[in-house]
């Protein structure tokens, strides 16, 4: 054996070694601690389940958090489909420290219970969630896995701005018609018909009378209207009667009536032809072109399409929401009292190396000082304080807030939206968030908006809706966890699929074919195990009534 041979052998051995090292490198852990200015900076990885633009590298607020709290947030925002992303994450078994809430992650054992951590290390969070403590417990094992991001109010509850479901109509139509108040679907469609006849094009492009969306998980613009039109609150795929029993309504007559109306609109050329083909981005683009007269949606869902219109000063083409019902004998129930947004917000994954540090960080952020930083910004830079201690913004500061590009550099919106937060008012009486500060809200109104609200004699956008009645204990049913892979989950999927297949077909049919297609739809629906879905919901509603009622 010569020396050269040995070398060759070593060559191949080292090749194997190098390869295995490279493979091992793939699963390597991230360097946890870096030092900056002598301080230790804790890197926290977070996955946020909404598509958002990553903040600019030198974002002012994130930098301030890093300097003051010693935490560097490494955020990953959703690209594509959330369920797919989570499915892959679970299959791969690799999780970031903070993870967006989803019941699937509980079934997968990917998140740790938080109740003890909160009790021991997080007084602010404990105080914040105190009255909702029982609601936050998972119905199957009694643990708390999520820190909900919305729906817990302190101080006074102020709502100037309405971001829930409604039938939205362009402000210029209302102005044109002399500020009428459409109450029923018929009133509403008449306004659209008249306006579209007068304005066949808007900004040079054909007018779209009504559009809707049924893409990915955003199917509520198409599927939810019937429950609202019959005076039910937003319970998702079911309506709940007075005795607390939920029933699916998608294939019932209350739905048929609505889709028949859409069918009429379609045959008159007023319904967007591409409504069922478009994806979310195309939908937003269409809205931001200003030629969509109306739609049913929740405001937060199409807000991003409205922003460019505001930035261009096309206030007439932004929208006002109306609580439509089938006939005037029905009281609308669009506006609801805030409920804690269960199964939303953040959880801490089992891979997090230092859950205590994480919970302490989130707890510190609940401090009013940081809540002000996250919602209002920096005093003197993003807002001013007058002699009475009230917060307000100067016209220049308001203008900056309208600019999406500016916000990427100067606001921590991505994280703030997903994190638990104070809502309502601060201890000093200022509203949390500029939009809820009454005088700031009014001063921030564009002249067109003031004119419109004055014409109706209203002060805020919420005034268009009937006041919210007391919520039933179980409300809302859409937050029920169907349990991963269960029959109820499969049925739910099949129900959505069937609706998305038949409803567009029915709506886009000739008027005399509508009934036949509707019958086909109902027949297809009968083949699905709808009962297992209803049973799961009802079982959970019963559980809620038993466990959430005042103890």
């Amino acid at each position: 054996m010569g020396g050269l041979k040995k070398k060759k052998l070593w060559g191949s051995v080292s090749l194997v070694l190098a390869l295995s090292l490279a493979l091992a490198g793939c699963s390597g852990d991230n360097e946890k601690v870096t030092t900056k200015d002598g301080k230790e900076v804790l890197n926290i990885t977070a996955f946020i389940g909404t598509p958002n633009q990553a903040p600019a590298k030198d974002n002012r607020i994130y930098k301030k958090i890093q300097d003051e709290l010693g935490v560097n947030l490494e955020m990953e925002f959703l690209v594509g489909d959330l369920q797919q992303k989570l499915g892959v994450m679970i299959a791969g078994g690799d999780f970031p420290d903070l993870i967006t809430a989803d019941t699937k992650l509980v079934s997968a054992g990917a998140v740790i219970p938080l109740e003890d951590l909160i009790e021991e290390h997080a007084p602010n969070l404990k105080k914040h969630f105190g009255k909702d403590w029982n609601r936050m417990k998972d119905s199957s094992d009694g643990h708390i896995y999520w820190l909900p991001n919305y729906g817990v109010y302190t101080g006074e509850f102020i709502s100037n701005y309405y971001s829930g479901p409604a039938f939205w109509i362009q402000k210029s139509i209302l102005k044109d018609a002399g500020y009428p108040t459409p109450k029923t679907l018929d009133d509403f469609t008449k306004l659209i018909r008249d306006y579209a006849a007068k304005n066949p094009t808007i900004d040079g492009q054909p007018t779209i009378g009504f559009t809707t969306l049924a893409s990915d998980w955003r199917t509520f613009p198409l599927l939810n209207p019937p429950e609202h039109l019959t005076g039910h609150p937003n319970d998702g795929g079911v309506v709940v009667d007075d005795s607390g029993v939920a029933t699916v309504f998608a294939d019932k007559d209350i739905s048929k009536r609505y889709y028949k109306e859409l069918n009429n609109l379609y045959n008159e050329g007023l319904l967007d032809k591409e409504a069922f083909v478009q994806n979310y981005d195309q939908y937003l683009a269409k809205i931001s072109s200003g030629r969509v007269l109306s739609m049913f949606d929740q405001h937060w869902n199409f807000q991003a399409g409205e922003d460019p219109l505001v930035a261009q000063g096309k206030i007439g083409q932004t929208y006002v929401g109306f609580p439509l019902v089938y006939d005037t004998s029905i009281t609308d129930h669009y506006l609801d009292r805030p409920v804690i947004n269960l199964n939303n917000g953040f959880g801490i994954s089992k891979d997090a190396e230092d859950p205590v540090a994480l919970i302490k960080f989130l707890d510190k952020l609940m401090d009013e000082k940081y809540q002000k930083l996250l919602s209002w910004g920096e005093e003197g830079v993003d807002y001013q304080v007058n002699e009475e201690g009230r917060f307000y913004r100067t016209p220049e500061q308001r203008k900056e807030q309208d600019d999406p590009a500016w916000r990427l550099i100067n606001k921590a919106e991505g994280f703030y939206a997903a994190a638990p937060k104070l809502e309502g008012t601060f201890e000093d009486g200022n509203a949390i968030g500029a939009i809820n500060q009454p005088e700031e809200f009014y001063d921030n109104l564009k002249p067109e908006d003031k004119e419109l609200l004055d014409a109706y004699g209203f002060k805020t956008w919420s005034d268009f809706f009937s006041p919210a009645p007391e919520n039933p204990v179980y409300y809302p049913a859409w937050q029920v966890d169907l349990k991963e892979g269960s029959d109820a989950a499969v049925a739910n999927k099949q129900m959505t699929d069937t609706s998305l297949k038949f409803l567009p077909k029915a709506i886009m049919s000739k008027p005399d074919e509508f009934d036949n297609i509707w019958t086909e739809y109902v027949d297809a629906y009968k083949k699905i195990d709808v009962k297992s879905y209803e049973d799961r919901i009802n079982e959970q509603l019963k559980w809620r009534i038993e466990n959430w009622s005042v103890k």
């Binding site: 060759k8 499915g87 997968a108 990917a110 032809k273 083909v277 195309q282 892979g485």
Partner: protein, 321 residues
């Protein structure tokens, strides 16, 4: 090796007596053996080790439980798949779109290569080739965006052109007619891949002996006869090898195109196995069902490869295995 005295006899034994005992042969080829180790390790880790995951298909798999705690359900998930109307539809779509993609892909690429080969002007040839393969480098999300906007009723180029030519009276909603979906997917594939797929045939064409063309010319063959009797037979073996290799992918009709272009209206014609797995498996946390569908796909693919290979063997052509 040459400077070690033992090397020469070793080499001779290897070449002269190919059927030496296994151990001896292994010893003789130990350098090669060592060199192949990383590849074997790679395949073991990434292709064979994951097969272990197949057991999931026979359980109600829950990621939170350990292996011993899983609930075993036998063939339940396979039964669900094979009796579910939606899945049978999905299977049909997958196979149909694959076959369309394959046939269209082959035919257009071969025709394109042959036609390109006939262009004598170098500059034009280069330019056409470059333009034709550039779309290959676009991702599907961009391509589907282009497809969707060109098919739009709202000033999409396809409708505009057809209207200007008076072929249609009013814009057609291409993406909401189920029957058009397969065609749209096929055409998108061709647009994206034809130039790229043609490259290998162009390479094969250049290796055809020029004397064959000269002989054909002397025999009085014109341009078309030369294409038909010289060029085509010249690339036949490449075509067959590629066909066999592609057979394995027949159930991979794709995921992105159908997912991005599809919508509720055309779901009966657009959903492929991968989308079904995503919707009824990953999205609702039903991993076992997803695995069962995956196994089903693998078994069909392997069967198809062997079938294609043995057909090719009978035809007396080159084969892969």
């Amino acid at each position: 090796m040459a400077n070690t005295p033992g090397a020469i006899p070793e080499q001779t034994t290897r070449t002269v007596v190919p059927k030496a005992p296994l151990l001896k042969r292994l010893r003789g080829q130990r350098q090669l053996m060592f060199m192949s180790l990383p590849i074997v390790a790679y395949i073991l880790v990434f292709s064979y080790y994951p097969i272990w995951g197949w057991v999931m298909a026979f359980q109600n798999y829950s990621p939170a439980k350990s292996f011993t705690q899983q609930e075993w359900v036998g063939l339940k998930h396979f039964k669900f798949l094979l009796t579910d109307d939606a899945f049978l539809n999905v299977l049909r779509n997958t196979i149909a779109m694959s076959v369309i993609n394959m046939v269209l892909g082959f035919a257009t690429a071969i025709i394109f290569a042959i036609l390109l080969n006939e262009i004598k002007h170098k500059f034009y040839k280069r330019t056409i080739q470059t333009i034709s393969y550039l779309p290959h480098f676009l991702s599907w999300i961009i391509v589907t965006g282009i497809v969707a906007s060109s098919l739009s009723v709202d000033g999409g180029i396809v409708n505009v052109v057809l209207m200007k030519l008076h072929i249609i009276q009013e814009p057609i909603m291409w993406l909401s007619v189920p029957e058009y979906f397969w065609g749209i997917v096929g055409a998108s594939h061709v647009w994206k891949e034809v130039g790229w797929n043609a490259i290998i045939y162009l390479a094969a064409i250049t290796s055809i002996d020029p004397s064959l063309y000269e002989a054909a010319e002397i025999d009085g063959a014109n341009r078309y006869k030369k294409m038909l009797y010289v060029t085509l037979p010249g690339i036949k073996s490449i075509v067959i090898i590629l066909l066999i290799m592609n057979m394995g992918w027949i159930l991979e009709a794709g995921f992105e195109v159908q997912y991005l272009l599809g919508n509720g209206v055309v779901v009966d014609w657009s959903q492929t196995i991968d989308i079904f797995v995503l919707k009824y498996g990953l999205q609702i946390g039903n991993y076992s069902l997803a695995t069962a569908a995956g196994i089903f796909k693998t078994v069909v693919s392997i069967t198809l490869i062997f079938a294609a290979n043995s057909i090719s063997k009978r035809l007396g052509e080159d084969r892969l295995i």
